[in-house]
């Protein structure tokens, strides 16, 4: 815990606020990469059902591929190791940070660098994609909020790219 408190974040907490959009860094959270051919053993460990459709979110877990989920939760979240089961569970809490894009123009800012059809990317959807040159995981968590998961070392670059897009909104 003391390690988490002492850790320095790659971007500042609230880094842009303008008309129709604000950009900020989400609080630290626990992240687990879950892999399994069959989701049942994972569900047994977790105690809840995983989303089956690629791109769906359920109970903090986003289905990223036919055998891949990302679970996000409060910092204290722990998951059993799954020893002996045909699953792979990896704690990746510090692999990425989450940038929040809030406001009625959130989608316009993302559209500046992301090739997804955001009009058809409904609330409750998540997918890996790209923003300009970096890979991101994009989650649409409420009407006016998108969450952008990005590897820590890419975060300062992405912050600048999002900020630049936000400044150019009219």
């Amino acid at each position: 815990m003391s390690e988490a408190l002492a850790r320095s974040e790659p971007v500042s907490a609230q880094f842009y606020s303008g008309a129709g959009v604000s950009l900020s860094l989400a609080a630290p959270m626990a992240r687990y990469a879950l892999r399994a051919r069959q989701p049942e053993p994972l569900e047994h460990l977790l105690g809840f059902e995983l989303p089956r459709q690629i791109g769906a979110i359920k109970g903090g877990a986003a289905c990223l591929g036919p055998d891949e989920w990302l679970l996000r939760g409060p910092v204290a979240t722990t998951v059993a190791t799954g020893a002996g089961l045909p699953v792979s569970i990896t704690q990746v809490s510090d692999r990425s940070v989450c940038l929040l894009v809030d406001g009625p123009h959130a989608a316009d800012v993302l559209a500046a660098g992301c090739p997804l059809d955001l009009d058809r990317f409904a609330v409750g959807r998540a997918t890996r994609t790209v923003f300009e040159a970096v890979e991101i995981l994009l989650l649409h968590t409420s009407d006016d909020r998108f969450e952008v998961e990005v590897w820590r070392s890419f975060a300062p670059w992405l912050k600048k790219a999002l900020e630049t897009a936000a400044r150019q909104l009219r």
Binding site: I54, P66, T127, E135
Partner: protein, 90 residues
């Protein structure tokens, strides 16, 4: 923007999310040690390289992460079909 249909995501997605991965349906020989150098070299290096209909592998690397197969016209760059890995040749 060239859109490619990912057979796992079942969506049209931008080409920038994908990586090309060479000709499809090339099975690795089961017993390489029993092959002549010539046959081994043919397996490793010789590809059909057609002008027109081409079966090839793609990977939705910045998406679901999956490899899949596609039929693409090498002259027009039009995708005729994409289908999951392991499914029969179209």
């Amino acid at each position: 923007m060239l859109l490619i249909h990912c057979p796992y995501c079942d969506q049209q997605r931008a080409e920038i999310e994908f990586a090309y991965a060479g000709e499809a349906h090339i099975a690795r020989p089961l017993d390489p040690a029993a092959m002549s150098d010539e046959d081994w070299a043919r397996y490793l290096f010789i590809r059909s390289n057609p002008r027109g209909r081409h079966h090839e592998r793609w990977r939705h690397i910045h998406g679901c992460g999956r490899f899949f197969n596609a039929v693409r016209d090498t002259a027009t760059d039009k995708f005729e079909a994409t289908y999951q890995a392991g499914k029969p040749r179209r």
